[in-house]
Symmetry: C2
DNA sequence: TTGTAAGCGTTATCAT
DNA sequence: ATGATAACGCTTACAA
C-alpha cells in the first residue's frame, strides 16, 4: 500500500514492478539505455503516484543539496532585497533554492550563519555582509564551497566579487554636481570601519576632489567627509545633532558658494533628510544632494532626490550566475565584476538660479 | 582518520571509543542516565572534533527538519520584510531556521512554493500570500503540516490567523480625519480581488462612512472608493491618469469641504504621491492623507505623511509562536489574533486653517 | 548502562 | 538492461 505521506522511490518501484535501482536510473540517467517497455511503466507509476524525489535524501547521499546559502547583513536594506530578488530568480531557474540568513545588522553572527547554512549542505554562498568576521572567510574556503561576495569584499577571502563600480559612480555624481554649479561638497557616510564599499566610495570622493583642485576639468571642488553614526539608546539625539552641525558647518564654510552633500546610501539619505527638516532647510535650496541608491520614495522627498541607481537586480543575477558556474565545475581565478551606476538627476541637485539664493 | 569534510557521529564514536548509539543518546537524551565517565569522554570528543549533527540526516530519520517555510507574496513590500524579521527571530530562538520563498507577486506559484518547501520537510508554513490559489490550502492541510496565515485569510483553510485589526484601524483613521476637519473622503486601494485584508479595510471604510451619515458622533463623512491598478507595459500611463482623474473628481465633489484620501498601503501611498506631484498639488493643502503602513520615508514626503503603523514585528513573532506551539503538539481550534494599529499624525492630515485654502 | 542493527529515501557499485 | 546491495549520517528498538 502506498504510504500515507509522500510516495517514495520504493512505492514507485512496487507500483511499476521493478527495482528501486531501475526507478533511480530512469530518473537520473535517462541516457543509459533502458527498455522502452520498462521506461514506460516507470513513467506511468511516477505520475500515478505523483512521485518526486526527496531532496533531503538526495542531499544525504550525494552530498549536494540544490541549496544556495544567501547571507545578508540586513534584509531591511532595499539594496539587499533587490539583490536577493535577482539572485533568487537566477537560482530558481537553475533548479536551486535559496536559503536566506539575515544577520539583522549583527556582524558578529556571520560565522554562525554560515555554519547553520552549511549544516543544511548548501552548495555555495552568496555573501552580502560587512565582512568583518575574519573567521567567516576561513570557514567558507575550509569547507571548499564556492563563495561569491556582493558589494563588500572580505579581506583575505579569494572569491568572485560582484559590485557597483564605486569609483565611476562617485566621479559621475561629482561631475554632475560640478556641472550644476555646486562647489563646496560634503560626503556623508556610515562609519567606514573597514567595510570595503564604504572605503572605496570615500576614497573615490577624496580623489575626485583632489583632482579637480589640481586643475581637472571645470571649476575646483572643495570636499570633506563626515561619518554619521546610528543613534544609541543612551544618547538618541547625539548623532542627529552632530549631523545637523555638520550641515551648518558646511554652509558656513561655503559662504557664497553653493554647497551640496553626497550621501553614501539610502539609509544615510533618510538621516540627512531628517536633519534638513530639523534645520528647516530644503534640498536644492539650502543644500544640494545626490545620494547612492535609487529608492522608490526618492522622487517624492522634497523636490525629488537625485540618486545613483545601482543595477541591483543584475548584480544579484550575476552573483548567482558566478556561483552556479563554479558549481558546474568552472575553475578560474577569482573574478571581479563591476557594473556601472546610473545617475538620475532630480530637483535636489538642480542648478541654483540666483533669485533662489 | 577523521574524514576530510565535516565530522560525523561515527568519527565522534571512534574518538571517544564508544558506539554511535551512545553518542546519539548523549546528544538527544541527556536525561537517560549514562555513566559520567562515558559522558565526559563523549563530550570531549564532540568538542575536539567540533561535531554538530547533520540536520539533513536527522530530518531523514525523524521526519522533522527544524525548518519553517515562509512564503511571501512580495519581498519588496516593507510590510512583508518586517514580518519576516519578526518570524525569523522567534524561529531562531526556538532552534528553527526559516526557509523563505518569494512569490515575486506571481500568485499562481503559491502551490509550487509550498511543494518546494515541503520537499525539504519544512515542519510548518507561515503564509503571507494573496490566498488566491485554492489548491494551496488543500495541499498544506493534506500534508498535515500546521499553517499560520499572516494578514490574509485563505478561504476554506482552517489555520491560525495573525493580522492587524483592520476595522479598528480604519475607524481610528477616519475619526482622526473627521476631527481634523476633513469631510469628503476617498479610499484608494489596490484591486480587492478577494484578498481578505483589502476587502476588510474597504468594508470598514464603507461602514464607518455610513455610520457617520446615520448620525454617528461628529459631522458626517462622505466616502467613495477607488481601485488603483498597477501599470501595464502596453499602457504605462493609464493607471496614473485614472488616479489623477479620481483625485480631481474628489476635489470637485467636495467643493468647499476639505477632501482627504485614505490609502490602503505604502505602495498605493507612493502612487498617490506621484499623482499629486503630477497635479502640482501638495498633501495637507489640496488634499489630506492618511496611509496604511508606516515606512521610514513617510516623515519626509511633503509635510510628512500621516500613517497607520502596524506592529509588524510582533505580528511576525506571533505568527511564528503560533506555529511553534502547534509543532509542540498544541491542538486547538484555529485562533485569530488581531493586533491594534497606531496612528501617527503628521502634516498630511493636519487641520486646514482657513488662510491656507 | 551500553552496544548491535535496522531503517529513513536516495544513489552507485557491483553482479547478473 | 536490470536487480541486489551497500552506503550517506543519524535515531531508536531491542539485546546484552
Amino acid at each position: 500500500m502506498p504510504s500515507p505521506g509522500r510516495a517514495t522511490i520504493a512505492d514507485v518501484a512496487r507500483e511499476a514492478g521493478v527495482s528501486k535501482a531501475t526507478v533511480s536510473r530512469f530518473l537520473n540517467h535517462r541516457d543509459t539505455l533502458l527498455s522502452p517497455d520498462i521506461a514506460a511503466r516507470v513513467e506511468r507509476a511516477v505520475s500515478a503516484l505523483g512521485y518526486s524525489p526527496s531532496p533531503m535524501a538526495q542531499a544525504l547521499k550525494r552530498g549536494r543539496s540544490r541549496l544556495i546559502g544567501l547571507v545578508v547583513a540586513d534584509v531591511t536594506n532595499p539594496y539587499s532585497v533587490a539583490v536577493l530578488r535577482g539572485a533568487e530568480q537566477a537560482c530558481q531557474e537553475a533548479g536551486y533554492l535559496v536559503m536566506l540568513f539575515n544577520l539583522g545588522n549583527d556582524s558578529g553572527r556571520e560565522r554562525e550563519a554560515m555554519a547553520a547554512l552549511a549544516s543544511y549542505q548548501v552548495e555555495g554562498f552568496i555573501l552580502n555582509t560587512l565582512g568583518r568576521d575574519p573567521d567567516a572567510a576561513t570557514e567558507a574556503t575550509r569547507q571548499g564551497r564556492p563563495v561569491v561576495l556582493v558589494d563588500r569584499r572580505h579581506s583575505g577571502m579569494q572569491a568572485d566579487f560582484v559590485s557597483l563600480d564605486n569609483a565611476q559612480s562617485v566621479q559621475m555624481a561629482l561631475a554632475h554636481l560640478q556641472a550644476q554649479g555646486w562647489r563646496e561638497l560634503l560626503y556623508v557616510t556610515e562609519p567606514v570601519r573597514g567595510v570595503s564599499s564604504r572605503a572605496e566610495r570615500e576614497a573615490a570622493f577624496r580623489e575626485a576632489c583632489h583632482q579637480s583642485q589640481q586643475g581637472g576639468v571645470g571649476p575646483a571642488l572643495a570636499g570633506q567627509t563626515f561619518e554619521s553614526h546610528e543613534a544609541l539608546p543612551e544618547a538618541p539625539e547625539a548623532p542627529m545633532q552632530a549631523l545637523m552641525s555638520a550641515l551648518q558647518a558646511l554652509r558656513e564654510r561655503a559662504g557664497a558658494r553653493p554647497a551640496a552633500v553626497l550621501s553614501s546610501n539610502s539609509v544615510v539619505t533618510l538621516r540627512l533628510s531628517a536633519a534638513m527638516a530639523r534645520l528647516g532647510w530644503q534640498w536644492g535650496r539650502e543644500l544640494g544632494l545626490v545620494g547612492f541608491d535609487d529608492t522608490d520614495w526618492a522622487p517624492h522627498v522634497g523636490p525629488g532626490i537625485s540618486t545613483i541607481a545601482q543595477p541591483t537586480h543584475d548584480l544579484g543575477r550575476l552573483a548567482a550566475s558566478c556561483l552556479l558556474e563554479r558549481l558546474r565545475g568552472l575553475t578560474l581565478a577569482p573574478r571581479q565584476i563591476l557594473l556601472p551606476g546610473t545617475l538620475l538627476a532630480r530637483g535636489s541637485s538642480q542648478a541654483l538660479n540666483p533669485e533662489r539664493l
